[in-house]
């Protein structure tokens, strides 16, 4: 027997090792449970190294980018100081705002505007194996992450946590063939099941043939799966064709449109949201220029400041002028004192303009058919030909915005738009 074992030692060891692993696989498949300890060991051994590598990479890239940015900024500042002090301050301020509007800022904005409790995480690695649709993030059970939690970005859902380890978590992306989530279309409220296909597009199954869904329509999470709360964007329909029994619908997942995102949000505590009624908007929004301040100031001394503003403003200006003419100060008179005589109001032009003493307000705009003030006659949807349309790229200070000092909130909002927040639907 001993001679037999010595002679076939290698093949015996091979069979034993293979048999042990077969038993391991069989136990997991039969019980549908994982041998967690081995995975914890491996993940705990590998992810710290991956985090260090990611830290080194991020630090290196950040140093290079910051150095280059700083270099450019200094050079530009010198030139701007020579040109104009005001422009320099404005430019520096806007540049800082743009730099600040990075992905983390966008995620933070999204977190603020979404009722769900979220945890920001960074993707630190892909799962082993070719064509892997699973990633590791740097937040684990130590941070409160649990298996089954949803992972999203402002652009759309990304996947769900399939395993939480102390220092990291494993996230199955929505294009994984094993992924499924309940979804609902935006317009017709058609429900279906989103499934990964291993390709950049996902399928929406179980949508009956009689239901109407159109290419371009958005799908949102329905909340039926108890993983994703209702109201998170999933993606737009790319193709619809009749299948056997159900429609074949292909959706471009907006959350992983450009591959796995680097930063994600884990829904620690999901809250259902309303699915927005308005269609998904990816077009840039034009912001009309502010009303001309100089004109208003020029007309103020004459007591006819109502050249611009609402009808109530115009009326208020008229009454104020009448009061001043009669030596009355509003808010001062005692009870029982004589009020101003409002029976002698000056006649007004169509559109509420006061003819006397208001030459500055009688420009070409006032000479229109209806005499409406209509500041530069610009509608929000249609910018004037002389104004370049605002795009969703980082702002280069469009002319419309140069006319007035921009508040930090305005700049921050536009910077966040540039950083990608508005790619998602309105929440």
């Amino acid at each position: 027997m001993e001679g037999f074992l010595n002679r076939y030692r290698n093949i015996t060891v091979l069979l034993l090792v293979i048999f042990a692993q077969l038993v391991l696989v069989a136990v997991q498949v039969k019980n549908d449970q994982d041998v967690r300890m081995i995975r914890v060991w491996t993940v705990s051994a590998v992810t710290p190294v991956a985090r260090i590598l990611e830290g080194l990479r991020g630090g290196g890239v950040g140093f290079v980018r910051n150095y280059i940015t700083l270099h450019d900024t200094n050079a530009e500042n010198r030139r701007l100081v020579e040109e104009n002090g005001r422009l320099k301050l404005e430019n520096t301020f806007l540049k800082n705002e743009v730099n600040r509007a990075d992905r983390a800022k966008a995620l933070e904005m999204f977190q603020t505007h979404t009722p769900s409790k979220m945890l920001a995480a960074t993707v630190i690695g892909m799962a082993a194996g070719a064509n892997s649709k699973v990633v590791f993030v740097d937040r684990g059970s130590g941070s409160g992450v649990m298996r089954g939690m949803a992972v999203v970005t402002p652009d759309g859902i990304v996947g769900k946590v399939i395993a939480a380890y102390p220092t990291a978590s494993e996230v199955m992306l929505i294009d994984d063939p094993d992924f499924a989530a309940g979804v609902m279309s935006q317009k017709s409220q058609v429900r279906g099941t989103l499934k990964g296909d291993g390709t950049p597009l996902c399928r929406v199954d179980y949508v009956p043939l009689e239901e109407k869904v159109a290419v371009g329509e958005w799908f949102y999470t329905s909340g039926d799966d108890r993983v994703f709360p209702q109201g998170f964007p999933v993606g737009a329909i790319k193709a619809v064709r009749p299948g056997t029994g159900f429609q074949e619908i292909l959706v471009a997942p907006s959350g992983i449109e450009h591959g796995p995102p680097e930063d994600v949000l884990i829904l620690i505590q999901g809250v259902h949201q309303e699915i927005p009624d308005t269609p998904q908007v990816n077009q840039p929004i034009y912001i009309a220029p502010p009303p001309p301040i100089a004109t208003t100031q020029a007309t103020a001394p004459t007591g006819t400041t109502g050249a611009t503003g609402t009808d109530a403003d115009k009326l208020r200006a008229i009454y104020k002028a009448v009061g001043e003419e009669q030596g009355h100060t509003y808010g001062v008179g005692e009870v029982g004192s004589k009020p101003p005589d409002f029976t002698k109001l000056p006649s007004t032009q169509p559109g509420g303009r006061v003819p006397p003493g208001a030459p500055a307000s009688r420009g070409p705009a006032a000479a229109g058919p209806a005499g409406a003030p209509a500041p530069t006659a610009v509608s929000p949807q249609r910018p004037p030909a002389t104004e370049p349309p605002q795009t969703d790229r980082p702002p280069d200070l469009p002319p419309a915005k140069k006319q007035t000092a921009e508040t930090p909130a305005d700049a921050s909002r536009r910077a966040n738009q540039a950083a990608g927040v508005p790619k998602g639907p309105p929440h």
Binding site: L14, V46, G125, M126, A128, G129, A130
Partner: protein, 177 residues
């Protein structure tokens, strides 16, 4: 690199020289291979096809010329790969155990310092790895993965080329006699 007089087949096992490695090499290289597969495709997606853990298993098994050692390296690397993927533990482990065993068996009979042999063996073991994994997915997990033979052939060739270069680099980590 030393060639055995241009011969590919060894007349006896004694002709083949058993390579020795320091302990840290045996620990760090497989870990680096797994890290490569986990981390690098995140930023260079086109490198996702590189089966670095498999190439490392093939190299150590070929050079150690010991079947038990080859299968153990294969089992450990495979289990680590399983741990970092969503398949049940043991799937990659079994495949790589067999790869390690057969690579060590082949290494005892062929001149594994020969570049062409390395290229050929890397290609063959890549195909073996892919096909066996496909079979196991169907048999053990009842999955229906696609049989992408043409794709595997191309990827096998690319992996073989990378393997030949990698083996050349790893040769420098061998202990000199």
């Amino acid at each position: 690199m030393s060639y055995s007089g241009g011969r590919i087949l060894l007349s006896s096992q004694r002709e083949g020289q058993v390579s020795r490695f320091r302990a840290w090499v045996l620990l760090v290289v497989p870990l680096a291979a797994i890290l490569f597969q986990v981390y690098v495709p995140l930023f260079f997606g086109f490198l996702g096809f590189v089966e670095m853990p498999l190439l490392v298993v093939v190299y150590f098994a070929l050079m150690r010329r010991n079947q038990v050692s080859g299968m153990l390296v294969g089992a450990l690397v495979g289990l680590a790969q399983d741990s970092l993927s969503k398949v049940p533990l043991g799937m990659y482990g079994i495949v790589k155990t067999l790869v390690g065993y057969f690579a060590a068996s082949v290494g005892m009979r062929l001149d594994v310092d020969h570049n062409f042999i390395r290229l050929l063996l890397s290609f063959v073991f890549f195909m073996f790895h892919q096909i066996l994994f496909w079979v196991m997915e169907r048999a053990l997990l009842s999955h229906q993965p696609a049989f992408e033979l043409q794709r595997w052939l191309v990827l096998g060739l690319l992996n073989a080329l990378i393997g030949a270069a990698l083996f050349h680099f790893l040769d420098k980590l061998r202990e000199t006699a």
